[in-house]
């Protein structure tokens, strides 16, 4: 046993290789392998008459995705929702994460962490359906608006074209609320992690040099929180781009990318189109990350 240990200790490369082979096999085949198998389908097309996949490399399916007006609509609708959800999550998460890290006493901070993560321990479907009830026409939210005498305000809000609808649960506004609720923890946690790495002395130095609290927030806290903001927004952005359950349970009838992938590879049996659609979020995230990098989001790393 000692001889084996010594043998491996003297050959770190071999040791690391032996340790890494099983997890790498798992990661390579199950994670990346299946993903590439799906993506590979996107360069094929489907025969319109036989509904069979034609195994000849072609860009026709991609062309279909980015030229057909209905498909472009789906992409734009999903993208706008993802952008709106990401901005809202960031706006809500930043003060919460800052409070947790900077001001809360250790006990309160622990409570906040539990509070942030508690909803994530519950079934996703249960939460979505619960929200459908909360947002329903006779639901608790409209009751609350009525009780506060704001029923008219809610009606006016629901009459706004684009985001409105017959009720909150059948509007893009309602869908937006559920998305924000669902992905908020994914924004708070990386943000809190980033803010925790900012030493207190930096904020004190800023105040010491004459910066008022708002200036310190803008020139020190925010730039140093950017990597966390970037990480969190990749979560909220990509989760919104890929989700198909929330748009099918809550909100207006328009299709989202995730629903399209689900419909195409399931009922329609058009695997190439489903695959091409799943490439869209990947490309959008890559564009987003490039823009974020160019804006200096990762400079403080």
């Amino acid at each position: 046993m000692t001889a084996l240990s010594t043998f491996l200790y003297r050959r770190p490369a071999l040791y690391v290789t032996l340790l890494l082979i099983p997890p790498l096999l798992w990661f390579g085949t199950v994670y990346l392998g299946s993903l590439f198998a799906l993506l590979a389908q996107s360069i094929y097309s489907i025969d319109e008459f036989t509904a069979k996949v034609v195994y000849e490399p072609t860009l026709a399916t991609y062309k279909q995705v980015i030229t057909q007006a209905a498909n472009v609509d789906i992409i734009l609708r999903t993208l706008s929702m993802a952008v709106a959800v990401t901005i809202a999550c960031a706006a809500i998460a930043l003060p919460i994460a800052n409070y947790m890290v900077r001001y809360a006493a250790p006990r309160t901070r622990a409570l906040f962490y539990v509070g942030v993560m508690l909803p994530m321990w519950m079934s996703y479907l249960v939460k979505v359906y619960a929200w459908r009830l909360i947002l329903a026409k006779q639901g608790i939210l409209s009751w609350l608006f009525d009780t506060l005498g704001l029923g008219a305000a809610l009606e006016a809000l629901l009459r706004v074209p684009g985001i409105g609808g017959p009720s909150l649960s059948a509007s893009y506004l309602g869908m937006f609320i559920v998305f924000v609720y669902m992905w908020l923890p994914f924004m708070i946690l990386p943000l809190a992690a980033a803010l925790e790495k900012v030493p207190e002395s930096l904020l004190q130095a800023s105040a010491d040099l004459g910066a008022r609290p708002a200036q310190t927030f803008r020139t020190v806290t925010l730039p140093l929180a950017l990597p966390g903001l970037a990480a969190g927004s990749v979560f909220t952005f990509s989760l919104t781009l890929g989700d198909y359950i929330i748009p099918s349970v809550v909100g207006a009838p328009g299709y989202f990318i995730g629903m399209m992938v689900y419909a195409q590879q399931g009922t329609a049996g058009n695997i190439p189109l489903a695959a091409a659609f799943s490439v869209v979020p990947i490309v959008l995230i890559m564009i987003y990350l490039t823009l974020a990098k160019r804006a200096g989001a990762f400079d403080a790393l």
Binding site: S201, L202, A205, S206, A207, D208, L209, G210, R212, A300
Partner: protein, 342 residues
Amino acid sequence: MTAAIEFRDVSRVYGEVRAVDRVSLTVEAGEFFAMLGPSGSGKTTCLRLIAGFETPDSGSVLLNGRDVTDDPPYVRDVNTVFQDYALFPHMSVLENVAYGPRVRGQRKEDWQRRALEMLELVQLGHFAERRPSQLSGGQRQRVSLARALINQPRVLLLDEPLGALDLKLREEMQIELKNLQRRLGITFVFVTHDQGEALSMADRVAVFNHGRIEQLDTPRALYTRPATAFVARFVGSANVVAGELAQRLSGRAEPFAVRAENIRLRAPAAPVNGDTMSCIGDVADVQYHGAMSRWQVRLESGEVFAAAVPDTNSNDEFRVGARVRLEWARGDAVPLTAAESS
């Protein structure tokens, strides 16, 4: 002329701990003032009270004669060099130094010129475009100094600024800081746990222990005339003699201090001079320090004395376990007058 800093009966309490306990002190304008003490003695809290990062629970803090007790840091005319330098990692060296003028809304031409001047002052002009992470510890320390001085504060606070530097750099920076202070005429308040640093740099030193000032004096007075046993031990590494032994040696019950370098080692049978005090013990340990050696000698009554003896061959007769006579001049016994704070 009004004092640069004045504490009036200032206390700061954390739960059960009185970090600063009814401290009153005055720092004159243009003075190089050191706050010396072990960790947890309250010296850093005092510095933070001056900067405004802490608010006293009672008492008041005055800067240049004005009560600033409730003023936030960003309106106080003081700047701080932090122990960890606290340089902004997402800004260049130039932007770090220019931070003060920038948040005060100075024009770009002005802050750029001023920041470059400050960087020249600390001899880092050609590092302006670097990031703090690309600098060495000593260079970061200079940037931090330039950043604090650009606002032309009346008081500069330094929180253990040399703690993270190696010995040679630390000695260079001590001289440089001292020169800088003389040239700029700014009041420097310097927090350190290193008594050598405090003695060599400061005009006056406040020795802190348990949240109180044990003694506030010039370095020479602290070293030669410590008022309490704590100061004698902490500043001079002196031997404190108290109780029965003090009675036997000096004829009086008051405790007194003898510095290690004033003690000579003699053979037990050597003749005793009337102007000296002496006692006999066994060598417990010898540490070689180059120019001198530090001897630990245990008396029969249990007390341990430290004697710093120049390293000469004449001590060769004494080994660990050998019996020696400790001897010092009566004049080298410094009576400890002030009462010991608990």
